[in-house]
């Protein structure tokens, strides 16, 4: 028998979502934004820049594969855990330079990444950081999308700035 959700139901549902762990709440991006469009993608980047782990990981399919400059990862939790670790030691910002939509199934984006070290990180995968170092690069990233979520993300460095 169905019924309108009570306050208790809503609280219980919220508790279940929280039990998934921070950054892994499987909320869909707002339906008003069509997957594969620029506004939809810009919101993903804004969530990333805002360290909104739940917001940006909502764009990942459960079996997402991520091939970045600094790591190869599988699954939303692994990506979130990786970036939590990075953001604890570096300030990272991504800016969209060029965006080419291939409809709801693929995107190519030119992204300028800026990293600023808050502490020394001698064994950072793409090269050692000393506190205060600032590093910028242009990267071409290919996002393959299935059912409105990223299934595979691959990034290739075009240039160090």
């Amino acid at each position: 028998m169905s019924h309108d959700p009570t306050r208790r139901d809503i609280l219980a549902a919220g508790g279940a979502l929280l039990a998934l762990g921070p950054g892994l709440v499987s909320a869909q991006p707002t339906p008003a934004l069509e997957p594969g469009t620029r506004p939809w993608f810009e919101r993903y980047l804004a969530a990333f820049n805002g360290k909104d782990y739940a917001g940006f990981s909502a764009y990942y399919a459960p079996d997402v594969r991520f091939f970045g400059q600094a790591a190869t990862l599988e699954g939303p939790r692994a990506i979130v855990d990786f970036y939590r670790g990075v953001h604890a030691r570096l300030d990272e910002r991504v800016d969209l330079v060029t965006f080419v939509s291939g409809g709801p199934t693929r995107i190519m984006a030119e992204i300028r990444t800026t990293l600023v070290a808050r502490e020394d990180w001698p064994d950072f995968p793409t090269g050692p950081f000393t506190r205060g170092d600032r590093r910028q690069s242009l990267n071409f990233a290919l996002y393959e999308i299935a059912d409105g979520r990223f299934q595979r993300i691959r990034s290739a460095r075009f240039a160090r700035l």
Binding site: F67, T98, V100, S101, G102, G103, R106, M108, E110, N139, F140, A141, L142, R154, S155, A156, R157, F158, A159
Partner: protein, 140 residues
């Protein structure tokens, strides 16, 4: 049905793979800029033709389009290039090659389009690279 820009891109790659430079240049805007793998920017049609004529003297390069699409202003493509050394090529841009060696690049490329749909700027970033040395293959 495939986008007209992508169809044109396939024709461009066919001309490239056939070393048909007379046909190739028509795809480029006269002021085209092409950034090659080491960051060098080639400016103008002739600079590109000269560069590839030189590359193709020692190696042959075949490009396969894995996927391509366009929004009308920019074409995005994932391409796979195979370089094969026709003779020893100690000065090959990505490292010395011996005759028979092969070098593979998986790249993401952006082609900016002018009003007449000619390429005004071409940039590619290498996602994966792989050497397949003739000596390694013969050892197996």
């Amino acid at each position: 049905m495939e986008d007209e820009i992508v169809t044109r891109f396939r024709a461009y790659m066919a001309a490239f793979n056939a070393h048909d430079y007379a046909r190739l240049v028509d795809f480029y805007d006269p002021e085209v800029q092409l950034t090659i793998g080491n960051g060098t920017v080639l400016r103008g049609r002739q600079a590109i033709v000269d560069f590839y004529t030189n590359v193709n003297d020692a190696t042959t390069r075949q490009i396969e389009i894995l996927q391509a699409w366009s929004d009308g202003d920019v074409l995005a493509a994932e391409i796979q290039s195979e370089f094969r050394a026709l003779r020893d090529a100690p000065d090959f841009t990505s490292g010395p090659m011996l005759r028979g060696d092969r070098y593979y690049l998986n790249s993401f490329a952006l082609y900016d389009l002018g009003p007449d749909r000619r390429f005004t700027r071409i940039r590619a970033a290498v996602f994966r690279r792989e050497w397949r040395r003739l000596a390694d293959r013969q050892d197996r």
